[in-house]
Each structure stands twice: as structure tokens, then as C-alpha cells.
């Protein structure tokens, strides 16, 4: 009950931002049991998708692909290195730069990853078309916020 004689603020349930926040958390939560079979977290899975695509990348480029800064990527990649999925080595030409490449076992894990999209598809209750709309709007919101932050 809102007190009378007071201006009121919208409640979380009325805000698109809260819906976005809750949906993203729920999505990561839903990925968890599926990714547990590969011993990967959701951000680790995103990094592996990029690496499985074939190229070795430096930390900077990988962070840009994943929309993460180095304060997030560095500890993330160290945990992945500790699991034996990747190697990190300094670039010969520029010692500041750190090159990330898959180990054999990291590369081998790709075969198990084909089951992930299928398993997740079963959990997602929106249509392909709705998913495309959701993606379009999230990208537009994201790009607008990033552009505004300069």
C-alpha cells in the first residue's frame, strides 16, 4: 500500500530494466546445470565459443568480443588456464600483449559442446521470432548505452 500524500516511484516489477536483469540472471541459472557437464561457467563457455572458432587471440581482442574489460577477463582466463583448457603466453613482438590459445583438451571439449544449444533450446519458452526480436532490442539497448558512455 502506498502512503497517501506522497509521490510514488514505480516498483521493480514495472520496470523493463528489472525484467532484463532478472531474465539475464535466470538465463545464466538455466545454463548452469547444462554447462556443469562440461565443467564450464557461462562466461567461460562464451570464451570457449570464440576460441573453438579457430584462432588464437590476445586478451584485449577476446575481451572486446565478449564485452568484458581486463579486470574480468584476466581472472576468468586464469581459471580456464588452471583447468587446462587454454594456454596464455606473451606475444614475442609485443611483450605487453598476452596470446590465448586452446590446449588439446580445450579443443577436444568442442565435441561435447554441440549438445549445449539443443539442451538449452528445450528450456526456452519463446519462439525463434521472439528470440530474434529480443536479440535485436538487447543489442540496440547495449549499443546505445555503450555509445552514450564515451
Amino acid at each position: 500500500m502506498t502512503k497517501t500524500n506522497e509521490k510514488s516511484l514505480l516498483q521493480p516489477e514495472d520496470l523493463a530494466c528489472f525484467s532484463l536483469y532478472s531474465a539475464a540472471n535466470a538465463m545464466v541459472r538455466a545454463y548452469r546445470p547444462v554447462l556443469d557437464t562440461l565443467d564450464l561457467t557461462y562466461p567461460q563457455y562464451l570464451a570457449m565459443l570464440v576460441l573453438w572458432n579457430g584462432d588464437a587471440l590476445n586478451v584485449k581482442t577476446l575481451g572486446e568480443r565478449l564485452h568484458m574489460d581486463s579486470g574480468t577477463t584476466t581472472p576468468l582466463l586464469k581459471r580456464m588456464e588452471a583447468k587446462g583448457l587454454i594456454l596464455r603466453e606473451r606475444c614475442k613482438q609485443d611483450e605487453r600483449s598476452c596470446i590465448v590459445r586452446l590446449t588439446q583438451s580445450g579443443n577436444a571439449l568442442k565435441q561435447q559442446a554441440f549438445q549445449i544449444p539443443e539442451a538449452m533450446g528445450e528450456k526456452i519458452a519463446i519462439s525463434q521470432e521472439e528470440g530474434a526480436t529480443l536479440k535485436y532490442l538487447c543489442d540496440k539497448l547495449h549499443d546505445g548505452l555503450v555509445a552514450h558512455s564515451d
Copy 2:
């Protein structure tokens, strides 16, 4: 470049889940400088919106409103108590239950909060109608995932 003779996986940029994840992170990041003026984080702001609405609530109910479990709410509320925004006290009728209520200074902060929606509105590059669609799709995805998790 994808290697030939190998099945390929979609890249993060092609996945709606990654867009959702990135947009939610960007949204929290955009709220940060605005909420810094109230010394609140985004989840703390969500909790304050519920409390500013008037009622004292127990931790369970507040967690349900914010789609959070006790492993998230308890430390969140302790930080808010340490800042002097709220009080937490056991319910007389049921000692298991913990009642959360605003302090005077927590309640007074409401006056400054009216500027938040205005400040955020300027940063958001999607229309009201697109925002409503985004909210609808996020809620549908969220509710479907929650229903599926039982």
C-alpha cells in the same frame, strides 16, 4: 576463420542469450554513475524501491519480489544495514522470520530517488514501445525458465 572439415558452433555475437547478458551488464554499468549519487548499487536500488513503497517486509517476501534467494539477499541487506538505510529485526510471532524496515535516513533518501528515472531515460536509446516489448519478452523468458526449473 573457421577450420574446414569441422562442424562449427555459433559465435557469441549470434546468440540472443549473449545479447541479453551483455545488455543487462551494460544496463547495470549505466546505472552506476547515476546511483553513485545516492550511494546505492543497482540491486540495493531495487530493494529500496520496494521499501519506499511503504510496507515493512520480511526477507522472504522481499527476496521473492526481487527474484533473489537468501544467499543473495542476506549479504545485500547487511550492507544496506551497515549504511544505516534499513533495520533488520526478528518477527515476534515467528522468530524464523526477519522483518526489514527503513530507517529515517533510508526513508529520506526517497526524495533524491525521483531523479533516477529521469537521468536513466536520457541514456536509453530505445523507444517506450520497444521498451515495453523488451520487458514483455524478458518476462516471458524469465517466467518460462523459472517454470521449467521445478
